[in-house]
Amino acid sequence: MISIEFLTTIATLAFVYAMANQLLNIEAGWGGMWDLGIAGLIAVGAYSYVLLTTATDAYTPGLGLPVLVGMLGAGVITGLVALVIGWPALRLRGEYFLITTFAFAEILRQLIIINRDLTGGTFGLTSVTKPLEAEFTFEAYPYVRLVLAIVLTGVIWMICSRIATSSYGASLRAARDNEPLAMAMGKSIKTLRLSTYAFVGLLAGLFVGPAYAWFLGALVPSIFTSSLTFTIWAGLVIGGIGSRFGPILGALTLTAVSELVRLIEVSPQHANWLSAVHPLLVGVLLIAVLRWRPDGLLSERATFARLRRRYAPQRSSTGHMPRSHHHLRESGYERPNYLRLGDHRGLQDVRWPQGVA
């Protein structure tokens, strides 16, 4: 037995995770920033959105702003919070960044708990303003909400696609691949990463936080523990870190595996057993993916190979040299001659031996 409404509900959850996975993919997949605090950013986004949009006479009063204004405001607030977190955290490298973001997410959660007058504390925020809710019956609304989640996932997908094919995206991956080299090429790693982290925060507040709040119907601090971060990470690893469609596929796969388990009918005595199957399935899925497709179901390599084919490089065969875009130009420095390495006979005639040394 299955119901379309139930599938709608879990599909909505899957698409909310698909949004979050894509954002994590920008910073961790392409930017190499292994953020273990993404749940914290989503928490700030969700709380900001709800507080901005909740009626002024609610149990925990909000500002009663329209949904779109609330989303924009949540985006700005979360972006600023990311900036504040990123400032110290991005001075640290690798595992220290990981630990710091993990700690910041927990601090944010504790701040939400402590600032009871603002956030409702552990009691939470119990009313969530949802877009178009008044225009539809409660039976129809889940479908509307699913469409909204798919549309927002599509918006983030387009944002990510554009980043993937941009100079910014290339620099982001370059800095991840080889940080010293990127620095030696004039790239300010700190600015690049900090702005990326803030950008991810902005998108988390703009899209993920509100959409998650629409799905949940209420916010309590316990939603935003590290287990949310790990769910997002697991989906990204399964789908394929660095790939464009992988984060979405990973979220859909992981949520389907997690939630469709509910459709197995068991007697009350075996409810424990069924609950144990869920983490087991997720674990088996993770192990299977890591064993047979270590890059994830889809890989970064395949994504960029495809993009490369699509935007086929223009191999200029004319002698005309394209305009230089290098910053040295802007600093007024006059380059003597464009280097024509090929003029050197040795290089044209002698192929560099392959596989030597």
Partner: protein, 247 residues
């Protein structure tokens, strides 16, 4: 500073903005430290680094690079997730579109810059005779090709001064010969070149000026002829027996 020891103590070098200058010395003499300090990967506690009238002391590496002083790396690992052409194109495109919002607010410009950077990159590769490698992933290159791409990519940044970190390391005699030709070519195009290496014959054959470092200080400076006759240099390189890769 390495492990609390002063790696550099008394270095006063004037390196010509044109031509090829070499910096040699045994392992531990402070070559790499000096190189890092110049390129912004280390900060001197005292002392200054000036380039063409500009004070580079303590500037972060990316600012040094933007000032026109560009280095290469001894291990030419590049950006392994990208192809050879993309590696070079990243350099050509520069850094002025490296903001998260430029793909959205300056998309046309971004697309144009990308297209032109790719075209320029391919042209570079063609000129260097390795256009056939353009679509190869950098991680699939032979070490020799990787080294060539390392130099090509940094040249695409249009440096005024190119710092080469042990370019001849792990290369065959034939490769070194080609490499020397390239370096001369670079210098002939008006880019100053500073080479550090401990391959004495490579350096003496290539450079116009040679500085010898020992124990963090400049021990000798001069033309290759002067240096090769310097008894102290002979002591380090032949008497010390420390260096085994003297060709």
């Amino acid at each position: 500073m390495f492990g609390g020891l002063k790696a550099l103590r008394d270095v006063d070098l004037r390196i010509s903005g044109t031509g090829i200058t070499a910096l040699i010395g045994p392992n531990g003499a402070g070559k790499t430290t000096l190189f890092n300090v110049i390129s912004g990967f280390g900060t001197p506690y005292i002392g200054t680094i000036r380039f063409a009238g500009q004070d580079l002391t303590g500037l972060p590496a990316h600012r040094v690079a933007r000032a026109g002083v560009v280095r290469t790396f001894q291990t030419p690992s590049g950006f392994p997730s990208m192809t050879v052409a993309e590696n070079v194109a990243v350099a050509v495109a520069g850094s002025h579109l490296d903001k998260p919002w430029t793909p959205f607010l300056r998309w046309r410009e971004d697309r144009r810059v990308r297209a032109e950077a790719h075209a320029a990159a391919w042209q570079q590769l063609e000129a260097a005779g390795i256009a056939n490698l353009g679509d190869t992933s950098l991680s699939d290159l032979s070490p020799g090709d990787a080294k060539l791409v390392e130099i090509l990519r940094q040249l695409a940044l249009e440096p005024r001064m190119l710092l080469l970190d042990e370019p001849a390391a792990a290369m065959t005699v034939n490769q070194i010969e080609v490499l020397s030709g390239i370096i001369r070519d670079i210098a002939a195009n008006g880019v100053g070149v500073l080479v550090i290496d401990h391959n004495l014959s490579f350096v003496l054959e290539l450079a116009e000026t040679v500085h010898v470092l020992e124990f963090g200080a400049v021990m000798a400076s001069g033309t290759p002829e002067q240096i090769s006759k310097d008894p102290n240099v002979e002591r380090i390189y032949l008497g010390g027996g420390e260096e085994s890769d003297v060709a």
